[in-house]
């Protein structure tokens, strides 16, 4: 038994104001995020024989199917340099976004935790995102091995890739905050996400390179999709520096629109979440 009252530490006096997104400070939030993410990650694969390998098997399977269907069945994109590497890379990046947002969207309900302890509410979606980030990092190792074997030339653009990853993480956090705060009152969000995510998958240059997108609806869809410039730029930086960039041949206003939407999602998410954080425990 520990010695109680051994160190009469100064007892802080405080007026309670209810829970907030960052309640009790950043360092406690970060500690909880880390612990819960690790626990979540371990739990996800506990008891399965292949364990963490599943984090690789799932995107690789999707890649394999799409690659065979597109290049062998439909015989498309044989002329696109390093198409296979691009497809694998894009799928890994998109899977992170889709899984992280899907997990974070319902995170405020996890274990009823926020109803049972004083938790910085932000820790809930953030630990779901961090748990998926572990998966992203292992997946990036696989991509690294793949593109080396596939003979992709090392490029200066690789040095900028972490910045791009950061942009992806920021967009992921913003979207997660928005959806998880909506989820408190509208559980439909969790039901809708798989469909929205599928729509986004096809409205982002993942399976097809940017240069083959026909003018019209598809271009318009890309212009309102904040993921599109991130994925397009990732290809330029990592796979093929000669591929067309996001701004190439695009009306400047239309090219900037997804950035504006992305920033709006992030700001809207932060505002919506910090508001909902105050009452989420009572409402779930």
């Amino acid at each position: 038994m520990s010695a109680i009252g051994a160190q009469p530490a100064a007892r802080l006096e405080r007026r309670l104001g209810g829970p907030t997104a960052l309640g009790q400070g950043l360092s406690r939030t970060w500690e909880l995020v880390k612990l819960n993410a690790i626990s979540d990650f371990q739990q996800r694969y506990a008891g399965s024989t292949l364990g963490y390998l599943w984090t690789l098997i799932k995107p690789i399977t999707l890649f394999g199917i799409l690659y065979v269907v597109i290049t062998k069945v439909f015989g498309r994109f044989a002329d696109i340099p390093d198409y296979g590497s691009m497809l694998l890379f894009n799928i890994m990046l998109f899977s992170f976004f889709s899984e992280a947002v899907g997990g974070a969207a319902r995170s405020l309900g996890t274990g009823g935790l926020i109803r049972k302890a004083e938790i910085p509410i932000l820790a809930m979606p953030m630990s779901a995102i961090l748990a998926t980030t572990f998966t992203l990092l292992t997946n990036m190792l696989v991509v690294g091995v793949w593109i080396t074997v596939a003979g992709v030339e090392p490029q200066w653009g690789w040095l900028l890739f972490p910045l791009l990853l950061l942009a992806l993480v920021v967009l992921t956090v913003g979207t997660s905050l928005l959806l998880s705060s909506w989820w408190v009152r509208h559980r439909d969000v969790a039901q809708a996400w798989p469909s929205i995510s599928r729509l986004l998958f096809y409205a982002t240059p993942i399976l097809f390179p940017l240069e083959v997108v026909p003018k019209g609806v598809m271009t318009d869809l890309l212009s309102i999709n904040p993921l599109a410039p991130i994925i397009a730029t990732a290809r330029v930086l990592v796979i093929d520096p000669n591929a067309p960039g996001w701004f190439d041949g695009r009306d400047p206003v239309a090219a900037l629109l997804p950035f504006v939407i992305g920033i709006a999602i992030c700001i809207g998410g932060a505002i919506s979440f910090s508001r909902r954080a105050k009452t989420a425990a009572e409402e779930i």
Binding site: M1, S2, E13, R14, G17, L32, L35, A46, G111
Partner: protein, 409 residues
Amino acid sequence: MRAGTAIEVRDLRKSFAVPSSDTPTLADRLRGPVRRGVPGALAVLDGISFDVEDGEFFGIVGRNGSGKSTLIRILANIYRADSGTVDVRGRVAPVVELGVGFNPELSARSNIVLGGVTLGLDKEVTESRVEDVLSFAGVERFAEMPLRNFSTGMRTRLAFAVSIESDPDILLLDEALAVGDGDFQERCIAELNRRRDAGKTIILVTHSIGKVRQECDRALLLVDGKIASIGDPDEVGLAYRSHVTNDSRPAHRKRGVTDGAEIESVELLGADAEGGLPRGERIEAEMVLHMLERREAVGGRMEIRDGEGSVVCSASELAGEIGEVEPGDRVRIRLSVENRLTPGEYELGFRALTAGPQGNPFTDSPVEWAFVSVSGHADRDSGAVEVESAAEFSVERSTGPAAAKAVAR
């Protein structure tokens, strides 16, 4: 905040929106927006104020829905108050449920850290206390075993050990002691008392009047979001018992009043000032009924409950010889029952019984309660009443020359 105060609550109010149903579905909306429930507000806490001192074991009692859990959650900063203030001094750890933050796939050791951090401790501090927690829970040998392989009892013990070893300045326990076997519960209570003696504050939300009377220094009774009684645990316990037994009765039957008579006084004879009853001597009480209407028969009932509120026995006596009584009459009833109670805490309840005229069935009054104790060494295993016993023994020997029947008395 005043020095020496752990919690200061002032004019605390909290209400919840109560829509007629949860989020209206699309089908509801199609049926017409007019039919959608208009959200009302249910006042769950209605302007309450109280202080809890450092080193106090403080009880909060009330029926389901009285606002206890909401109050605990506001004190734990899980819910936000609508208005009013709550000031706390020191670290608060709520135990709304045992094992918050636990992950069944991880080892006991990892779960102790997870649970501790969830309750508000630093990771390093929690890690330094892992061995203490394991030993308090008595599961040292299973430190590396995944929690899902633990028995329910082991898991409960581990969860409680985590909460108590997190050593907060203010520990909020919401019914958490209702779990676990008797032995472990006693160890928990002993540990809580040790913490209290070291100056920590314990707040216990409970349904058990017995726990309030035995453990708490002060207590508070919540009725419909208001403080109905606060202070001495015995008084609060009596108010709670009376609230539970009497408030479900029709409103016109006021406290102590039956249809035709009211209980004017009840005096427990032979009890000392603290309600101590000598062991083995008859329990005797004198009730005085004040008649409000003409009745053909009157009587009284004494009911004995144990410290947890379970009825041990009840005895009713009717006056056969006094005949009809008129309004204004006073009826004195001396009621006594054999005292077979084992040492411990008990509740005595008294009711007036009346019947007639025209052969109406008996009606009984609400109960007047008194807390009593029977002194002596309390042995939990012996039950609430002592009974006379006798036995005959016989043995059929299987070996030896004395294989004949032996009888012993």
